[in-house]
Subunit: 113 residues, 6 copies
């Protein structure tokens, strides 16, 4: 079962702080670069977040999927659109993606309510 939205955000934010505190320059710059990757460019933010979502899903990273679902929802991705992203991920990545799909659908429903 999926963790709740609040638990997810709280743990993510708390541990990111702990990582920044360790003051490893490579990790700090990677976190910064990660944020820049999804900034407006030749492609709009919404498209980039959809790319981040499908990439996270085929790589079967539940926490990454949750993060990009939050961002997709904020950027106006609709339910029909998000299910088409899920469809691409499950066809490309196969049925081993289905357990991650279940958790993603559960999390998306939290975001919609």
């Amino acid at each position: 079962m999926s963790s709740t939205l609040n638990d997810f955000n709280e743990y993510r934010s708390r541990m990111n702080d702990r990582i920044m505190d360790a003051d490893n320059l490579v990790l700090k710059r990677l976190f910064n670069l990660d944020a820049n990757t999804y900034a407006e460019g030749a492609l709009p933010v919404k498209t980039k977040e959809m790319l981040g979502l499908v990439a996270s899903m085929v790589l079967r990273c539940d926490d990454c999927v949750k993060y990009h679902l939050i961002k997709c929802h904020e950027n106006g991705v609709t339910k029909s659109e998000v299910f088409e992203i899920f469809a691409v991920a499950n066809i490309v990545g196969g049925t081993i993606v289905i357990p991650h799909l279940r958790r993603a659908v559960e999390f998306w429903e939290q975001l919609e309510t």
Copy 2:
């Protein structure tokens, strides 16, 4: 620690319903195709379920492993046989499969009792 058999089945079934409700044609057809893949053919169901189990295990998908363990158990795979499947998975996939082996063994013991 592994979730229990009932929790596993309940969550799986509930979320599959939610996915079907979304009415995405590609996902619906993939779910249908998935079921057909393990139907009797040139190879018997038991063999196909063993193939599904080893594939799930090397890909390190705990929920997929549990599903195929249930099916293997239903189709008469014995404990000695299931451990030989585990052995193939751990040799092909390496020691990173061992944590999944632990959870699989725990789940198999639930199925046997």
Copy 3:
């Protein structure tokens, strides 16, 4: 080094025919379903092909990357856009994606000429 566009298309098409000839129903339906996944829907074809490209790249499947590069090029994805897709793939998937990036850039240049 990347195979040329013609070699890629010829081998892909020839072997797909051999696979269809074997008349395995599951594989036939999967190929058909794969084609439907990228059809116009809530998301336009161009977006879906970009999703297919980034998914293929993080999963490090050179042939899949080439296929979606062809489709992206046909659907008007620009060089700046394709490099932003590459950027997402390399940040999400890490520096092990870079060798695939090199081959993708080489193939993209063939498509542009």
Copy 4:
């Protein structure tokens, strides 16, 4: 395109000798253990080789696929059976497995002639 059967066997055998020459005890024992994994046990050799094939295919290891195709062919796996194994691999592992399927089918045809 797939390398030929002879090239495959020659390179594999030559490099295995080079690895054994290095006299690393862990690698030597792993090679030995690998051979034992597919020996007759609760499951027959044919079944174990089919398990090795599907595991290799979902992990997208072309050389491992070729090795187990040789062994499956030697142990009497038929064309219909091998395509059912391919079907399981492509459904579980998704369309990124298709390029490996193409090379596997080409190699299987070499084995049949």
Copy 5:
């Protein structure tokens, strides 16, 4: 959130016993070989445990990461060193490694207290 050190050790040890009880020769020998892999050799134990840690992290195996963190800590790896290992893992493996980094940092802090 990360399981605690005691829970981790207790479950690992209990399930390893269950696996050994099943008396599958291949699995028994793999467990034995695994232990030998990290023994003093041309490389010191500390270096080998660092290698095991980075390999576990890029393969995104939380339980394997925890095991090697315990061993690294026992062998005198410092906080600065462990963060440099984390940095290599996150650059090579990309941002999908970050959720595993969060859990690793949380577990490391348990080891330090």
Copy 6:
């Protein structure tokens, strides 16, 4: 069969130039960050290159393996040491790593001559 050292270096360097020419800021910064990751720090360069090698090998990236083999060789890693790194990679990652081991051994022999 492994490409030769010269071919490897020439292609890598030529395509890196093509990537830099595209002027995508995220990719440029990732390439720069990648270089910094292996700089002297709490851990010496030699250790970091060994970490990069084992990470590349378990992720089965032949080009990444070759790059780190060159760097390991430059930094004085001996044949016995490199085979112990190979041993960790093959135990953690399983027998699907063996084809990559064969190509790595072939490339290492080029470096030694």
